[in-house]
Amino acid sequence: MTREAVLEVCGLWANYGATPILQGVDMAVGKGEIVGIIGRNGVGKTTTMRCLIGLLRTARGEIRFLGEDITRVAADGRARLGIGYIPQGRDVFPRMTVAENLTVGTLIGGPKGRKLSDLVYTYFPRLAERRDQMAGTMSGGEQQQLAIGRALIGNPALMLLDEPSEGVQPSIVQMICDALKSIRDELGTTIVFVEQNLDTILAIAERCYVMDKGRITASLGSGEVDAHRVREHLLI
């Protein structure tokens, strides 16, 4: 890889109880890349994300972030090192306002993070309008924007998104994809996202990993992410 590596995952195993879900995941993501992970239901995509942020314990293998081994670092430590996490289902804090949700995100970046709130409102003007609304009363698309904004405000080097298009109407998905691209272009943020929606993958992923049965089974390089190839892999 020519670019500086942001994320290197080597032989990652993880279990739910006694059941091994991840069985040796390997991947490497360079600075400023937008990388998609695709795969059918239940192949371990969300588990991979939870392992990367540290909410699920790694049974075996190694995770390196910006060259540093973070396999044994807890989730809050990983966040403070600069990993932003946008979970499946978004997990905004429902009984807190939009502004308060964003405040939680600023803990990562410290004083610098707080200055980024204007930037978040520029990317997602809807959030500025709804600043004082309870997050739980917003639509799926608005919550998704809030979850991304909440991670972005901490100025992470790497953002992990778990199914950003799930439960979001298509026009908003397009808007979120455009925002993610701008974030990468303007801030240099590396983006890794899990997705089942082919259109989202095609819209922003430059490279793509295909997952099956807890492993990466194929890797599509830049220029290879097209509808035909992706479909082919999903149908295997």
């Binding site: 942020i53 540290g54 909410l55 807890a74 989730a75 809050d76 966040a79 403070r80 996490y85 979970p87 997990d91 804090f93 429902p94 009984r95 807190m96 308060e100 949700n101 405040t103 939680v104 995100g105 803990l107 990562i108 309870m134 739980g136 009363t137 909440r150 991670a151 901490g154």
Partner: protein, 288 residues
């Protein structure tokens, strides 16, 4: 007429202060962490004993009360780190562990300091309204209860710690994934709850006989207030205090203390029958 109205308010204020001061700490620990702290009464007792000890040593009462509050809070942090932390998400085990702690502390204190220590007497000072005489210290207690509610509001709604704490309460895993040191938030919340319990003991120390089991005097009231209020300290505890104090004050005035106590407990049963999640459960559901 004014004298009667004031007398009614005074009696309400007296019960309200007792309910809020004894329940605030328990409510925070339960609401924030889902932990039912059976040693709550012992933190109250700790506040009372430290206050009285310091006053006997020549420390002025208000300063002694402040020190007692801080001491109970620090002990709370230690208890969280040594005991409660090991039992997260095991509510029955925490209940048992804190109950065990409560027994050890009361019996230990009985051995160490005997069945009672000399009290310090209620601060003097009284005033008259019409034909009635009232104790100034009881109004100080009421002011303290209002102050505690205001402080809880400011801490949880207006500070960064409050934002972190509420985020942790709503979704601990997500809060942690955003960089919140969840363990620290829990230790601080437990410490805050213990400190408020200590404050309760410190404030009531001058009015009571000091015995190792004195916490039990407060425990029934604190538990029913928290149960009626529900898991949300801010939305639940204060309205529960108002409601129960009103019931009790009316019954006390007309039928005496015993009926007042019984009537309040009956009211609690009825409220829980109608609102199983307490008052804050109702308000939160409405707010959605």
């Amino acid at each position: 007429m004014f004298a009667e109205l004031f007398s009614t308010f005074y009696q309400f204020a007296d019960v309200f202060a007792f309910l809020i001061l004894s329940a605030a700490g328990l409510a925070i620990v339960f609401g924030m962490m889902g932990v039912i702290n059976m040693a709550h009464g012992e933190f109250i007792m700790c506040g009372a004993y430290v206050t009285v000890g310091l006053v006997h040593a020549g420390v002025p009462l208000p300063l002694a009360q402040a020190c007692a509050t801080i001491a109970a809070g620090l002990i709370g942090v230690v208890v969280e780190v040594l005991i409660v932390r090991k039992l997260y998400k095991r509510p029955l085990d925490t209940l048992l562990a804190t109950w065990g702690l409560s027994l050890i502390v009361t019996q230990g204190l009985l051995i160490l300091l005997g069945s009672s220590i000399p009290g310090i007497g209620t601060p003097e000072g009284s005033f008259t309204v019409g034909p009635y005489t009232f104790s100034t210290y009881r109004l100080v207690l009421f002011a303290c209860a209002i102050g505690v509610l205001a402080a809880i509001y400011v801490i949880f709604m207006r500070t960064r710690f409050g934002v972190m704490a509420r985020a942790t309460m709503q979704n601990a895993a997500m809060a942690q994934a955003l960089g919140v040191k969840v363990g620290g938030v829990y230790a601080a919340s437990f410490g805050l709850g213990a400190a408020l319990a200590g404050l309760c003991g410190a404030l009531y120390a001058p009015t009571m006989t000091l015995i190792p089991t004195m916490g039990a005097t407060f425990v029934v009231e604190s538990f029913v207030t928290v149960v009626v209020g529900g898991a949300n300290v801010l939305l639940g505890t204060a309205p529960a205090g108002v409601l129960l104090a009103t019931v009790r004050m009316l019954l006390n005035a007309n039928y005496g203390q015993i009926i007042g106590q019984i009537g309040m407990l009956v009211a609690v049963i009825l409220i829980i029958r109608v609102l199983p999640e307490g008052i804050s459960g109702l308000l939160v559901r409405r707010g959605r």
